[in-house]
């Protein structure tokens, strides 16, 4: 093994970034932007004074009457279609969080249940006096499995509050030192505890807290583990899975999935990849196997005998087991990573189905496994939450400018 150590100085960082940023803008980029903007409409507000310059009052009233008639007729048609359309009940409510009102400081954060069939919102809690910049631009709330509590996360993946659904109360948490950003927290299967990765690589611990935010215990992790990520609580509640060497291509040791027993006994390696780039590993709902994604696709491994099955081959990330463990949903990046789509495949690799294509990611199963929620990037800052039947069909917008959990 060759070892080359260099001193990290400001000057070196500046030089590296200057080289990395390129010397000049590519030819034609400005022209391409200008061309595209010329054919992209801007949303225009209607200025009432302008009407008086161009239209006589009688004609304006005629337009108003026509508009009202259209609204009445359109409402009737929409009502009829709602009655005949398949309703995304999904077996449970969704949850989401938004600033209210948006664009002010200080403002409030509202966490609300969302009926995916009707779009109706049931406010759960409100956190007033919030400086929105301290939360970033993209919050999310994540259900415990029993829907009795939810965790509120800020844009940096830090848990900032625990929502008690029955009592409509919220316990605010101080921003915690969560390693590596998103997806570093996992609920226990009973929904009474959550665990999160804390601290830098090499000194990381798994912290277990109860639903009042009280720390119950810290599980020390082996010090030779680097780039820990993606904790996943086992269905029987006995251990927490973490992925190590995340994102590492050439490492002293390949990526591994480590089971850390909750009772403090020594951790054990469940998955040891000699090559590849494990980006996520998740227990199956019955705890008998793992599904994991690498840069080459998704595979499963049966824990009893270590048997591995290649499920997909592609740039597939964000895998999620269906509640019955028969299928896996995931996000696929196309070859140039410009478009992403939501896919579903049987856990044996058969029946691969593409559900969406565009700028979609983060599939989440409905509790009954009949629908999938996903984020759709609509081009600016905050994605919106959409749903689609598991078998395919027309995606439906559930809530704008918010990520939803199901």
């Amino acid at each position: 093994m060759t070892t080359h150590r260099i001193a990290l100085t400001d000057e070196l960082i500046e030089r590296m970034l200057a080289e990395r940023s390129g010397s000049r803008i590519p030819a034609g980029l400005v022209g391409a932007i200008v061309s595209k903007s010329a054919v992209t409409p801007q949303p225009r507000s209607i200025r009432l004074p302008g009407l008086s310059w161009n239209l006589r009052p009688g004609f304006v009233w005629l337009l108003v009457a026509l508009a009202l008639a259209l609204v009445v007729i359109g409402g009737a048609i929409a009502g009829a279609s709602r009655r005949t359309a398949v309703s995304p009940d999904g077996g449970g409510p969704m949850i989401a969080a938004q600033f209210y009102p948006a664009g002010r400081s200080p403002t409030s954060i509202r966490v609300f249940e969302l009926d995916p069939a009707t779009g109706e919102r049931l406010p759960l809690v409100e956190l007033p006096g919030v400086d929105p910049s301290s939360f970033g631009v993209s919050m999310r709330a994540v259900w415990a499995r029993d829907h009795g509590h939810a965790l509120l996360f800020d844009d940096f993946g830090r848990p900032r509050g625990i929502v008690d659904v029955a009592h409509h109360s919220l316990i605010a948490l101080s921003p915690a030192d969560v390693a590596n950003g998103d997806d570093q927290v996992t609920w226990s299967p009973a929904g009474d505890r959550f665990a999160w990765l804390n601290g830098p690589a090499g000194r990381s611990t798994l912290v277990i807290s109860d639903v009042t935010g009280r720390e119950l215990r810290r599980l020390a992790l082996p010090t030779d583990l680097s780039d820990l990520t993606q904790p996943s609580w086992s269905p029987d509640g006995s251990a927490i899975l973490v992925v190590t060497a995340y994102g590492c291509v050439v490492c002293p040791r390949g990526p591994r999935a480590i089971a850390v027993p909750v009772d403090g006994s020594p951790s054990r390696t469940l998955l040891d990849e000699t090559s590849g780039n494990v980006t996520r590993a998740v227990w199956s709902p019955d705890g008998s196997s793992l599904a994991y994604s690498t840069s080459g696709g998704i595979s499963t491994m049966t824990l009893a005998d270590g048997r591995r099955t290649v499920v997909t081959s592609g740039a597939d990330i964000q895998l999620a087991w269906s509640p019955d463990g028969r299928r896996i949903a995931f996000t696929r990046l196309n070859a140039d990573a410009e478009r992403t789509g939501i896919f579903v495949v049987d856990s044996d690799g058969s029946n691969l189905t593409q559900l969406t294509d565009g700028a979609d990611d983060t599939p989440i199963w409905s509790p009954d496994g009949s629908w999938l929620a996903f984020n759709r990037d609509q081009g600016i800052i905050e994605p919106s939450a959409w749903v689609i039947p598991r078998t395919g069909g027309e995606p439906r917008l559930v809530v704008e400018s918010a990520r939803a959990d199901w």
């Binding site: 260099i6 990290l8 970034l17 990395r20 803008i25 590519p26 801007q42 830098p200 990573a337 800052i381």
Partner: protein, 192 residues
């Protein structure tokens, strides 16, 4: 259609705020002037965060088109540059997150060292290794390092671009530098 590209100085007497107001009313020439004035810096920012030209090109284009669409809603016309940077940085963060943090080795010309002067070979090795270490970092860490070390933005501007308080910027800069140091250490220990 062949676009008519008008440099910023082709609209004499126009302040940037005036250009922004005109662009917000749908004036394409004013928007062209804004693009010409800001595209280079925007592209270099995206290039530094994302690490390759095609992604940076797309992120820059997407940011400007988003800005064009959203301009009618921009109230602080004097804050156009900060607002554009925020859109751009968020776009870069989204791209990196959706990429699933799959590590990519840049293959384009900026990292072609075949003709390097042997006298600066050590420096080249250092910056190459540091660039690879930088690729190990998560999106937010990359973004804050680029804003500070490449663009030399003041803390308040970084806070605005990343939608975090100024105090948090200082703390996160400190953490980002530590993360880069750890990544560099790991990179040095990896066999190549």
């Amino acid at each position: 259609m062949q676009p008519l590209v008008i440099p910023a100085n082709a609209l004499p007497g126009q302040t940037e705020a005036e250009l922004v107001r005109r662009a917000a009313r749908g004036d394409n020439a004013a928007f062209e002037a804004l693009v010409a004035a800001h595209a280079d810096r925007a592209f270099r920012t995206a290039r530094a965060i994302l690490g390759n030209e095609p992604d940076a090109r797309d992120a820059t284009q997407d940011a400007f088109i988003s800005a064009w669409r959203e301009l009618p809603r921009l109230r602080e016309v004097n804050q156009f540059e900060a607002w554009l940077r925020r859109i751009l940085v968020n776009g870069c963060r989204s791209r990196l997150r959706v990429r699933g943090r799959v590590r990519e080795i840049p293959m384009d010309g900026a990292f072609d060292r075949s003709g390097a002067d042997p006298l600066i070979a050590d420096q080249v090795v250092d910056t190459d290794m540091l660039a690879r270490a930088f690729d190990r970092l998560v999106a937010d860490t990359r973004a804050i390092l680029v804003l500070h070390y490449l663009l030399h933005e003041p803390v308040a501007a970084i806070a605005s671009a990343m939608a975090i308080p100024a105090g948090t910027v200082k703390w996160r800069l400190h953490r980002a530098r530590e993360a880069l140091e750890r990544a560099l250490l790991a990179e040095g220990e990896d066999p190549r």
